[in-house]
């Protein structure tokens, strides 16, 4: 169930625009922030708020890489697998991350801390090979900087 204040806030935002469905991504992000990921229930709630069918909302939700339809860890690592990062050795970095965290792409570590998701070009080719962790960009990366970063995040936790 959505808390009343969040529901009210979203309703107000929706009421202020001409075409409610233009806010579908914003609503999904708000629900994702609340639930941790976009649950089946969240899709239905978004549909109800926006006057869309749940199927229509799900089509958008499943389309975008940054809308998570399955549970994710506390830190979501989006490692770029596009061409520039690939030229700079991004593939081996992804393999290094997998090995270091003992998870395959798409999986979450057993402690629930890290989720590894490959992503198509994040627009930081100047810092290739690059990755995003919870929307913050890191790069150029080496195995050493990755080790350091993961340790810092574990400690911060």
């Amino acid at each position: 169930m959505l808390p009343e204040n969040l529901k009210k806030e979203l309703q107000d935002r929706i009421a202020a625009v001409d075409h409610p469905r233009e806010l579908v991504v914003d609503v999904l992000f708000a629900l994702q922030a609340h639930y941790g990921f976009v649950t089946d229930e969240a899709v239905e709630e978004a549909a109800g708020l926006l006057g869309m069918t749940p199927m229509e909302v799900d089509e958008v939700a499943t389309f975008y890489t940054f809308v998570y339809r399955r549970p994710v860890g506390k830190y979501v690592i989006h490692v770029c697998d596009s061409v520039i990062c690939w030229l700079e050795g991004g593939r081996s970095l992804q393999e290094y991350l997998s090995q270091k965290l003992s998870i395959a792409p798409g999986e979450t570590t057993a402690d629930g801390l890290f989720t590894l998701l490959p992503v198509c070009c994040i627009g930081y080719c100047d810092r290739a090979p690059a990755m995003l962790i919870n929307k913050k960009v890191y790069g150029p990366l080496t195995p050493e900087t990755i080790d350091q970063l993961l340790d810092e995040l574990r400690e911060a936790h």
Binding site: D40, M55, E56, D58, E59, T62, F63, Y64, C120
Partner: protein, 818 residues
């Protein structure tokens, strides 16, 4: 016309024609996956690439995305174009499984054809194929997502064309998934078309699984007889059994699609319960013996009590040949009937719909798609004539205004303006609408038309709704192609005539107006034109009670449609009950003489659709018990005999000829010619020659406003699955039937102190209807909805809409006590 050259052939096409269609007209079939004439072009699959040699856009182009231009030169055989298409096939095959030998689409697969003809055979891509988890989509359609090539035809049909929302496309790039949010039955009653539109085997037919391969089937052009629209279908048979029915293309009627009732309604023909041998007094006999015995008994009764003591009963599912036999032998022998419909109200409604269809205002389903204003009166398209709903939707997609005047909460796959009105209010509402829709009397109108217009302007319905009707009328003023669609079961008897008159009035004003009736049964229009209004079920009942009728011949008719219950005591009083049918029915079991008849798949037949189009079904196979039933499901029997087991059934018209002692060698042609005009001139594929003007055109109804106060009008509602007598026997459709509940408006339920789920018994005079109450928000007040479904004894209200007093409704406990 535009002239262009495709592969060195000169082609002439109208402006706006796509190159892919222009080529098809010249006999060149350019490969395609995503392009479909009904769904339009999206340029998604890239397989229709051609080389444009001359024209405004030279080079490799998608032929579905470019329009033909004057002087254009196109090559489909150009080396670059061929290489491009071969490349496309190769990448579409990158993820497609090599399961053709076990795939149900095999042999009927566009991708298979294209891969083979494109020459692709060796995989060069050294990676694994992507896989998906399939969903269970219900009893009709099997899902196998791995075979998908992302042409988007399924969602374009399901969502855009048909207007249902539970199937969609999820994910992106290599993860694109076509399906529902979770497993579950597809909600659209047009879902079977996914099987036809999918160019590969993602959606395949579940009921015909493992019953044979495409090339094993004999394919026969036929017509669907599960409603009055007469959609064209292809019947697939194998081993003396109808295995599958597919949509056949008909540009004027059903286009490329059919509904699921039409697609899956056929299993009655091969049901193990289907009676295949004749019976005399409960004892099995040969058909010749039974025919002799029945003819002897009928002539004996005619001699003792007069020829009028023999009566005939028929329904909208008899074909034109059988109707001809009923008419000819009935009149030659002096037998009564054929009796049809339940009583005076339903008989009059059918006849006022049939006899008012005239040349100027008669239209096709295709015309409905092109109309700009559609008024649906007392008609529930999805449940009564499903493909009509899709036609109305296409008009709505093009911007037409759709309005709905009905007692029921009619569900449509489109947004429509709603007027919740009782059946008794519909005639007056229609007239009031016309009074507003016609701007001024004008000199164009004849005196009679002007008289009708005046009656329209004087028409009042109810102060609460008059204003809404006026708004609707004003909205229709600007329309150039208005259409009035009128049903016959949830209307007053004179509503169809009023609907036709409204269309006439709009046409007299110079617009291209149309009238489209929705009728009960595949051949109901013919029955309405050939039958006499006075010969209805209630009149038959009276004649039985008086003892005027001693023998009844029931021909391919469920007596419930004539208002009789299965165990009606009146039937026991008959000296002879002769039933000729292809279905196992209560009347058939009670018959003194039963004669099995052939289904439309064996006998063929001609039917006249609601839009007066003559439709022919050809015999698909010779008949007989399906091999699977003879063999008990194993190997076909190894014993041989010259005759086909279970092939006793005869065409109903031959049975009638034998009963009249005319021999069975009567020709179908002469029987059709025995019918009154215009039916006698029926030529398959053509429309009936309709009268230029109906005799009582512009006749205002006698008493337009007859609102029933203090009682409830009982409306029997047809459902898409479970109502129609033939398709309700299909096991796969029975899973989709709605629960049988009696519908009440919340206001009426409160006034009657009834709540949802409560059981009530409603005394309809001739019988009691019992069932659970359901509160229906969008329906009209003052109405009780009775579903025509198993579990509800609806026949007592068959001659609807009838009025019951509040005192006739009492609540009962589940065990039947008051």
């Amino acid at each position: 016309m535009i002239k262009l050259i495709i592969d060195n052939l000169r082609v002439e096409v109208p402006p706006g024609t796509r190159v892919i269609d222009a080529a098809e007209q010249a006999g060149i079939m350019i490969p395609r996956f995503c392009y479909h004439p009904a769904l339009g072009a999206v340029g998604a699959c890239r397989v229709c690439a051609v080389q444009v040699l001359e024209g405004s856009c030279r080079g490799i182009r998608m032929s579905c995305m470019i329009e033909a231009e004057e002087g254009m030169v196109i090559s489909t055989t150009d080396e670059e174009a061929v290489a491009f298409r071969r490349q496309v096939i190769e990448w579409l095959m990158a993820n497609h499984p090599h399961d053709c030998p076990v795939c149900d689409e095999g042999g009927q697969c566009l991708l298979q054809d294209m891969t083979v003809s494109g020459g692709h055979g060796r995989r060069r891509l050294p990676v694994k194929k992507r896989t998906h988890i399939d969903q269970h989509l219900g009893p009709l359609v099997v899902h196998e997502m791995n075979r998908c090539i992302q042409c988007y035809r399924c969602v374009r049909f399901y969502r855009e064309y048909a207007g249902y929302t539970d199937l969609g496309v999820m994910g992106s790039a290599g993860r694109v998934y076509f399906g529902r949010r979770s497993d579950g039955v597809l909600e659209s009653p047009f879902a079977g078309n996914l099987i036809d539109v999918c160019p590969t085997g993602v959606f395949t037919d579940r009921p015909s699984r493992f019953k044979g391969r495409y090339w094993d089937f004999e394919r026969t052009p036929s017509v669907c007889i599960h409603c009055s629209l007469g959609c064209r279908v292809t019947v697939n048979t194998r081993y003396r059994e109808v295995v599958r029915v597919e949509a056949a293309h008909d540009p004027q009627v059903n286009g490329w699609f059919i509904c699921d009732r039409g697609r899956y309604g056929f299993p009655y023909a091969s049901s193990p319960q289907r009676p295949r041998s004749a019976r005399i007094d409960g004892r099995k006999s040969g058909v010749d013996e039974a025919l002799d015995e029945a003819a002897r008994r009928l002539s004996g009764i005619a001699q003792r009590h007069g020829s009028g003591s023999v009566a005939l009963a028929a329904s909208g599912r008899v074909c034109l040949e059988t109707l001809g036999a009923l008419t000819r032998f009935g009149s030659e022998k002096g037998w009564r009937g054929p009796f049809f419909r339940a009583g005076p109200r339903t008989a009059e409604a059918l006849q006022s719909a049939s006899k008012n269809l005239e040349e100027k205002i008669s239209i096709s389903l295709k015309d409905i798609e092109k109309s700009d204003f559609i008024l649906l009166v007392g008609c529930d398209p999805v449940n009564e004539a499903p493909m009509l709903a899709l036609s109305v939707r296409q008009a709505r997609r093009r911007g037409a205004v759709v309005a709905l005047a009905d007692a029921r909460s009619v569900q449509l796959p489109l947004d429509a303006r709603r007027l919740a009105l009782r059946p008794s209010q519909l005639t007056a509402a229609l007239m009031r609408f016309a009074g507003k829709a016609v701007a001024d009397g004008g000199a164009a109108l004849s005196d009679r038309a002007r008289g009708f217009l005046q009656a329209c302007r004087d028409s009042r319905v109810d102060p609460a709704v008059d204003e809404q009707i006026d708004h609707l009328g004003l909205a229709a003023r600007e329309s150039r192609r208005p259409v009035v669609v009128c049903g016959t079961s949830a209307v007053a008897p004179d509503t169809p005539a009023a609907a036709a008159n409204v269309a006439r009035l709009l046409a007299a004003e110079g617009r291209k107006a149309g009238f489209f009736p929705v009728l009960p049964g595949a051949n109901a229009l013919a029955l309405g034109l050939a039958g006499r209004t006075a010969d209805h079920g209630a009149a038959l009942r009276e004649a039985l009670e008086k003892g005027d009728v001693r023998a009844l011949v029931v021909v391919e008719t469920n007596l419930s449609e004539l208002g009789f219950s299965a165990d009606d005591p009146l039937l026991e009083n008959l000296e002879a009950l002769v039933v000729c049918d292809c279905l196992d029915s209560a009347a058939g079991r009670a018959a003194r003489v039963f004669i099995p008849t052939q289904t439309v798949f064996e006998a063929g037949g001609t039917f006249v659709s609601a839009e007066a189009r003559v439709r022919e079904a050809r015999p698909a196979f010779r008949g007989g018990t399906p091999v699977a039933q003879v063999s008990g499901g194993g190997h076909p029997p190894r014993t041989f005999s010259p005759d086909i087991p279970g092939a006793d059934p005869l065409p109903a018209w031959q049975v009638l000829a034998a009963l009249a002692r005319e021999g069975t060698r009567v020709s179908a042609d002469t029987l059709r010619k025995a019918l009154p005009a215009p039916l006698c001139g029926a030529a398959p594929g053509k429309r009936l020659a309709l009268p230029a003007s109906a005799p009582d055109a512009f006749q205002p109804p006698e008493d337009p406003a007859t609102a029933a106060d203090g009682g409830l009008e009982v409306v029997v509602c047809e459902h898409i699955f479970g109502s129609e007598p033939l398709s309700r026997r299909a096991a796969c459709l029975q899973e989709l039937e709605s629960a049988p509940r009696l519908g009440l408006h919340p206001g009426d339920a409160a006034a009657l102190q009834l709540s949802a789920g409560q059981r009530v018994a409603v005394d309809c005079g001739r019988g009691v209807i019992e069932g659970e109450i359901e509160i229906v928000n969008e329906m009209a007040r003052g109405v009780l909805l009775v579903p025509r479904l198993r579990g509800i004894d609806w026949h007592a209200a068959a001659d609807g809409p009838l009025v019951v007093a509040v005192a006739d409704i009492r609540s009962v406990k589940p065990n039947g006590e008051s």
